[in-house]
Every structure is written in structure tokens, then in C-alpha cells.
Amino acid sequence: MSATEDHVAGRPAIDRPAAALATASRVAPPPRHLLFWLAAAGLGAALVVGLRMIGNEYGYFAGYFILQYIVLASAWNILGGYAGYVNFGAAGFMAAGAYTAIALRKATGLDLLPGIVAAAAVAGLLGLGTGYLTLRLRGVFFSIATLCLAVVLQTLVVNWDYVGGSRGAYIVRPREVPPFVSYGEYMFVVMLVLAILAVGISRTVELTRLGRGLQAIRDNERAAEAMGVPTLRLKLIATTLCGALMGVAGAPLPYYSGYLNPEAAFSLAYAVNAIAMPLIGGAGSWLGPVIGAVLLGGLQQAATVTISSALNLWIVGWMLVIFVAVAPRGILGWFRKRT
């Protein structure tokens, strides 16, 4: 979060986006893109090698779980963290991606990778549509509309027999995918690549004019508009990108679990995690959702194994409430100098 957040609410608000633009360009280090991609690729390779040396299938399972949330949380952060528009419909977009992959496989027999591309397209269009319908209104209405979108989509899927309706759909998992030691590793690597892409995209957004424009919208939309920021266009780009990435997070889900029903795909747990992780890690920075996803995702994995799955979701809810109340800038906020 930028220093502008520290302005007291009573101060005149007009100077805030200008200040946001100024501080963003002054404080931000020169973007080192090559270094980032190399480091991410190195970290990813190290993870794959490390997990293969451990050689436990559960490691891939837990890793996939956390990586999927890195994608989801980074996607949420593009719209929620930078632009300040809260998307409650993460589960809806994710399920849209998952069901696109299922439908594509049933219709054409195409496999996971084309499914991911199709999921990105469908969920991205969905995001664009939602944004177009509601972004001209106050942010709250956008939030409510996303919540409703999830319910509408769930109703449609429940009534759509082609993809299994309420009974759910099965996808037969191959036992082995050649270069990988197991199917679990294959899924893990796919998700790892997607997570690196998602984080990279959100970092690129943050460091370019798009991100600065979105931050100006968050701080004061009217003033941003007056300064010549094309607010509607930027918001539409952000909703499309956010929806597409969420769809991408969902596309491998049926392949990963082998079976998917609407109740699991539209689970509120995805929506709450997608919000909690960036806010706990530190919304408005590309690193925040990653920290939040690793922390909360890891915690949930540990709690599911040791305690119960209801209790671990409860803990997520409490952490969300406590963090937004006590540490509104998230964990990253602790390490940032207050100006």
C-alpha cells in the first residue's frame, strides 16, 4: 500500500491520486523484470526438485492446494487490492473455469491445457460482462453483483445436465503422464507454472501505468477521472484480467480431484480465501497475496490434517476479521515504513 493511505479521512481528498501517482513513481524501484522471472523460475524448479526428493504424494497435494490459492489471491488482488473493488464471486469465476474445462473435454475430448486457455477466455468474458454491467455504479453494487453472479452460475450449472447437473461430473485421471513421476506431480507442475504466470502478471500490472491508474481509482475515483485517468476502461481491463485468472485457477480442479459437483466448485471457502489471503498478506502489492496464500493455505492444510475441516475454515474467518480490523495493511504493512 502506498503512503497515501496514511492520509486522515478528513483531509481534502483531491490531492490523493496525484500524490499516489507521484509516490508510486518516486518510491517504486526500477522494475527488474528479468531478475523476477529468473528468480521465480529458479524457485519453481527448486520446489519441483525438492518435492521429488521427498517423494511423498501428499506433498504434491498440499503444494497444489497452496498454489491454486496463489493464483486465486493474485487474481483478486488485481481488482480488489489495486483498484479497491471487492469481488465476492471468486468461487463463481473459478467454477466457471472448472466447468469450461469439463464441457470442452466432453464436447471435443481436448485435454487440460486447451481447457485452461478456454477457461481463461470464458471467465475473462464473464468478468468483462460483470464489470460492464455494474462498474458504472458505486463499488458496493459491484460486490453484491459478483456475489449474485456466483449464485446464478450455480443454478445454471445445477440445471445443466450436459456437465452432470447436481450429480457432478467425473474425469478419468490417467495413471501417469510421461515425463513426470506421478499424476500428482504433473498437476503440481501445471499449477506451479500458472501461479508463476499469475504472480508475474499481477506484478507487471502493479509496475505499469495500468496499476498506477487502478491505485488512483482506489484512492479517489472522481479525482482520478478528473485527472484524465480512463477509469472505466482500466476497471474493465482489471475485471477481465481478474476473471480470467480466477478461471485459470479453477480449470485444473476437475482434473485434480477427478470428480466435481456444483457444491464443491462453488464453495464459499474459495470466495472467503480469495479475499482473506490478499488482505492478510497485504493487499495492493503483488507479494501480499503470495504471503497470504502460503500462510493461510499452509495453515489450512495443517489444520485439516490435524483438527477438522470446519474448524480450519472458522479460523480463516476469524483471521480475516481480526486482520482487517487490527492490521488493515496486512503482514507487509508491518515491514513498511510509515510516512
Binding site: 465476492f88 453484491i144 449474485c148 443454478t155 440445471n159 482506489r218 464459499l268 472458522w314 482487517v324 488493515p328
Partner: protein, 293 residues
């Protein structure tokens, strides 16, 4: 009479009765969201929580669910005051209600829902009052008491609230705080106190709506989710802060949903309801009865 026509008439009448329940559920939101500008997405969850406590207390003491709902309303009032206290201290005062406040209420909703699953289990709960299986008949039209009694309670609660907001000093102050909190301060009224009180009332209404809900249908912890869209749709269509608008929108909503369920099957009714909300948001955000901003 033509059987289709009878079916349609019955669909409309029970839709109106269902609309009574929706009015109870949405009226609390008309106070918190419409008047106080607090986006309490946890409202339906609070209503379901009210329904669960009604079942718990009603079964233990052998009391009528609607009576329990009214009796426990003061406790929910206190709960509402506590929630508002937290919300005001951490979000409203800092001017951070937009993103963080929304996330806060979303978290509260999630905590309530998962808490209910942990406390009561995920299965459906019900509490049938003795009159639940009686049906009045007016010619061809059925009036099941299971639907009629909650609708009447909802109308009574709405009527009382309307009178309170129109006639009493604090009621007028609540209406005033919606328009201009600063001006209220100049009249030596503390806007925070008024908002706290109004938010308490809105949560107390959630308790009454919960009692009405449990008479109409069995409840489960996730029942609140489907009500989120409904109550926000009704509230927005009714023009946010207007109680009569809220009532009319709720009745209309009940009829549309029920007629859809009668003719196309109940699994389609949520899509109609939420689709309608999306259309309203897109084309008439000031509500069906609201004035253009």
C-alpha cells in the same frame, strides 16, 4: 375454473405470503444498508442464526417459534450494538469502510455460517408449530397458515418500524442520520449513538425474520447464502431506504419467484431472482421506486 388459472392464482397468493417473509428479511437491511449506508452482508447469516436459536429455544421450552423470535429480539438488538461498536471503532471512524468494512462483514458472515455448522451440524433443522398443517380455503385459493402467520408477523413488525421511524424523535433522527450526519450533530444529537441504535434494530429484525423463516421452511447453516441476493435485490429495487418500497418490492419478488417455481420447477427460481437483481443493477440502480440520482 381453468386448472392453469387456479395454479397461477395460487402461485400469486402464496408468492405474496412468501413476499411477507422476504419483507421481514429485507427490512432490517433497508435500515442498515439503506439508511445507515452499512453494507451488512452478514444480515442473512444473522437471520439464519436467529432461526437456529429459535429452533433451539422453541424445542427446549416448547414455545411457538414466532413468539420465541419476538422474545429473543432484544438479545439480537444487543448483538447488533456490539457488532456496530466493532465496525465503528475499526472501520467507520478511520474512513476505511469501503474495502476493509466489506471484508469484515464477509468474515462475520463466514464465521456465523461455519459456527452454525460446528454447533448444530450441517443438516436441516425445523420446528413446526401446531398450526403448520392447517390450511384455510377461500374458494379455489389455499391460504396455508404456515405461510400466513409469518407474513402477518412480518407485516406487523414492518408497520411498527414504520410508525417508529415516522413518529418518534429517535426514529426521525435515524432517518436524518441517513441524510446528513453532520447536521444531526449540530442539533446536539450524537450520530454514532443513533447509528448504533438503528443497527441494533436492524439485527433485531433479523431475529424476527429468522423466526418467520423457520416456520415457512426448514433451515440449514448455508440457508443465508441464497438470501443475500434476495434481500439486497429487494432492498435496491425498493429504493434502499424506503420501507413501503421495500415491502412492495418484496411482495413482487415473492410472486415472481413463486410463479417461476410453480411453472418451471423450483431449481430455476434463484436464477430468476438473481438475474432480476443483475438487470436492476444494470438498468435502474436507483430502484424500481427510487428517484433518479
Amino acid at each position: 375454473m381453468d386448472p392453469d388459472l387456479v395454479l397461477l392464482l395460487n402461485g400469486i397468493v402464496s408468492g405474496l405470503l412468501l413476499g411477507g417473509l422476504y419483507a421481514a428479511a429485507a427490512s432490517g437491511l433497508a435500515v442498515s444498508f439503506g439508511m445507515l449506508d452499512i453494507v451488512n452482508i452478514a444480515h442473512p447469516a444473522l437471520m439464519v442464526m436467529g432461526a437456529f436459536t429459535v429452533v433451539l429455544i422453541g424445542t427446549t421450552l416448547g414455545l411457538d417459534p414466532l413468539l420465541v423470535a419476538v422474545l429473543q429480539a432484544p438479545l439480537f438488538y444487543l448483538l447488533g450494538i456490539a457488532i456496530y461498536g466493532v465496525y465503528h471503532h475499526f472501520f467507520e471512524r478511520r474512513g476505511e469502510e469501503a474495502l476493509q468494512g466489506l471484508a469484515f462483514f464477509f468474515g462475520v458472515m463466514f464465521i456465523i455460517e461455519v459456527g452454525l455448522v460446528m454447533g448444530f451440524g450441517p443438516e436441516q433443522r425445523f420446528l413446526d408449530p401446531p398450526y403448520a398443517f392447517t390450511t384455510l380455503r377461500l374458494g379455489e385459493i389455499d391460504l396455508p397458515l404456515r405461510m400466513l402467520a409469518p407474513a402477518l408477523l412480518a407485516l406487523a413488525a414492518l408497520g411498527l418500524l414504520y410508525l417508529y421511524l415516522r413518529r418518534s424523535f429517535t426514529g426521525l433522527a435515524i432517518a436524518a442520520v441517513a441524510q446528513d450526519a453532520e447536521a444531526l450533530r449540530l442539533m446536539a444529537v450524537d450520530p454514532v449513538r443513533i447509528k448504533r441504535l438503528a443497527f441494533g434494530i436492524s439485527v433485531a429484525l433479523a431475529s424476527i425474520a429468522g423466526g418467520a423463516l423457520v416456520v415457512v421452511q426448514p433451515v440449514e447453516p448455508s440457508s443465508g447464502q441464497i438470501f443475500i441476493g434476495r434481500v439486497f435485490a429487494i432492498c435496491i429495487m425498493g429504493g434502499m431506504a424506503s420501507l413501503p418500497g421495500c415491502l412492495i418490492a418484496a411482495l413482487l419478488f415473492g410472486v415472481v419467484e413463486n410463479v417461476t417455481a410453480t411453472f418451471y420447477g423450483p431449481s430455476w427460481s434463484p436464477a430468476v431472482a438473481f438475474g432480476w437483481l443483475l438487470l436492476v443493477l444494470a438498468f435502474r440502480p436507483q430502484g424500481l421506486f427510487g428517484k433518479a440520482a
